[in-house]
């Protein structure tokens, strides 16, 4: 899916911060990194793309279609967002349920949902933890589980906010492999990261933000 951000602006007046007229595009099957110092507006930009924040100016287009009036679930069906803090997006008490619950809610039969969940868990080296509680997972395991949750719903685009935080080298490679697989399937990937090496190896372009502006 092609994503276009046109003149996006958003302000946090109490913090004296303003994301100002940010424009860029991501082609279908392209991987773009958004980099910048802490507080430069990277996460705000990610949230604007997914609809978690409403832009105060500008618009976001998915395949040329203006998403301004779209509900969160409508966007969610097309774009997956990995929160900076993965515990924020885990809502089930157990690992397997985390992946089957929403699938079943959307009408997937229970055994099919379990099969797909197990498949994605194995891909991220988490199948051993399938019956474990989500609260006992480490930071890295939570991160991988949250990514599994995103991939299960086959999004057309992914926004990953600090995807490598808490991942060791091997798990980082698993993530890179999954990203490459997504890219080959036409999924566009936007990664917000401080991990220079990961960005260098996995992003085809870099958009650098400084004080809310593209530099």
């Amino acid at each position: 899916m092609r994503i276009d951000a046109e003149n996006l602006s958003f302000a946090y007046p109490e913090a004296g911060f303003r994301l100002d007229g940010v424009s860029f595009y991501v082609e279908s099957g392209e991987s773009v990194a958004i980099t910048g110092r802490n507080g430069s507006g990277k996460t705000t930009l990610g949230k604007l793309l997914c609809g978690l924040l409403k832009p105060q100016g500008g618009r976001v287009l998915f395949d040329g279609e203006d998403t301004s009036g779209w509900s969160l679930p409508r966007r969610g069906k097309r774009i997956g967002y990995l929160f900076q803090e993965p515990s924020k997006q885990l809502f089930a008490p157990a690992v397997m349920e985390e992946l089957t619950f929403t699938q079943e809610l959307m009408g997937t039969p229970a055994d099919e949902a379990a099969r797909r969940a197990y498949e994605v868990l194995s891909r991220f080296d988490l199948s051993k933890l399938a019956s474990q509680g989500t609260y006992t997972l480490s930071r890295g395991e939570k991160q991988r589980l949250a990514i599994c949750g995103l991939l299960l719903h086959s999004p057309e685009a992914l926004v990953l906010d600090e995807p490598t935080t808490g991942l060791d080298k091997r798990r980082g490679e698993l993530l890179a492999e999954a990203i490459r697989e997504c890219l080959s399937g036409g999924v566009s990937v936007i990664m917000i990261s401080h991990d220079r090496e990961f960005v260098k190896n996995n992003a085809s372009r870099e958009i650098r933000l400084e004080d809310g502006k593209v530099v």
């Binding site: 997914c50 978690l52 509900s71 969160l72 679930p73 409508r74 966007r75 969610g76 069906k77 997956g80 967002y81 929160f83 515990s87 924020k88 997006q89 885990l90 809502f91 089930a92 008490p93 619950f101 929403t102 809610l105 959307m106 989500t134 609260y135 949750g149 995103l150 299960l152 719903h153």
Partner: protein, 243 residues
């Protein structure tokens, strides 16, 4: 040490007197069963909250999500308690009781947390109770935030609550409550560990920077509370004799 800044509420009443009043209010609201006898208790609680400028409005706003549930409980009582008049009276009694408890809560919420804790310590009550309450209140927004995060995460996976049948939607909400509670408990556990590591505890050898001292105004309020309790009891006895 000269004590110029004893922590008190807007009415400048010692928290121990308020503890007693709130305890009596709560006991009366639980013991009195019918709507009419609860009226003086509710009026007393409202007058005291108004006089002390207790943050009742803030409490109401924070609990606005609960109002639908409270009204549903009242209606439920009204519909399923025999005839309509007695049902409505039972429903009204439930509502009055809840209001009294909330007004009592707002009276305590008018004090800074450390004043309540100091009051409990000086009353030789377990101070942990006060900490639990004051910290619990702080966790309410956190609990709401955690619940909201779960809803957002589900929506981001394409789940559309607006298109869901009400019954199913409530099932999902109920399902999400547990993780929100666990997340709150986890945060509280981390907080308690951090506090223990800083030597938290009201040990006997520990002194207080701002000990509470009963003054004339406090003794007057104390006497007023006792008189109020006696009048309420006398009123109840007379009511039972003549009705």
């Amino acid at each position: 040490m000269k004590n110029n800044a004893v922590p008190k509420n807007n009415a400048q009443i010692d928290p121990r007197v308020t503890f007693l009043f709130v305890f009596l209010l709560s006991a009366a609201s639980v013991m009195l069963r019918d709507a009419l006898t609860l009226v003086p208790v509710l009026v007393s609680a409202a007058v005291a909250a108004g006089w002390a400028r207790a943050p009742f409005g803030t409490l109401l706003r924070r609990l606005r999500g609960l109002w639908a549930a409270l009204l549903a409980v009242t209606l439920f009582q009204a519909l399923f308690s025999g005839d309509v008049v007695s049902g409505l009276l039972t429903g009204a009694a439930v509502l009055e009781r809840l209001l009294v408890l909330m007004l009592g809560g707002s009276l305590l919420a008018g004090y800074p947390g450390h004043a309540l804790v100091q009051g409990m310590i000086q009353l030789r009550l377990p101070y942990q109770l006060a900490y639990m309450v004051s910290i619990g209140l702080r966790f309410l927004p956190r609990f709401r935030e955690s619940f909201q995060d779960s809803l957002t995460a589900m929506q981001l996976r394409g789940v559309d609550f607006r298109r869901m049948k009400l019954r199913r939607r409530f099932k999902v909400y109920a399902y999400l409550l547990m993780p929100a509670v666990v997340s709150g408990v986890n945060s509280a556990r981390k907080l308690s560990m951090a506090m223990e590591l800083r030597g938290f505890g009201a040990y006997p050898e520990r002194t207080a920077y701002l000990p509470l001292r009963m003054k004339e105004r406090d003794w007057l309020a104390f006497a007023a509370v006792l008189l109020w309790a006696a009048a309420l009891m006398a009123g109840q006895i007379l009511w039972r004799i003549y009705t």
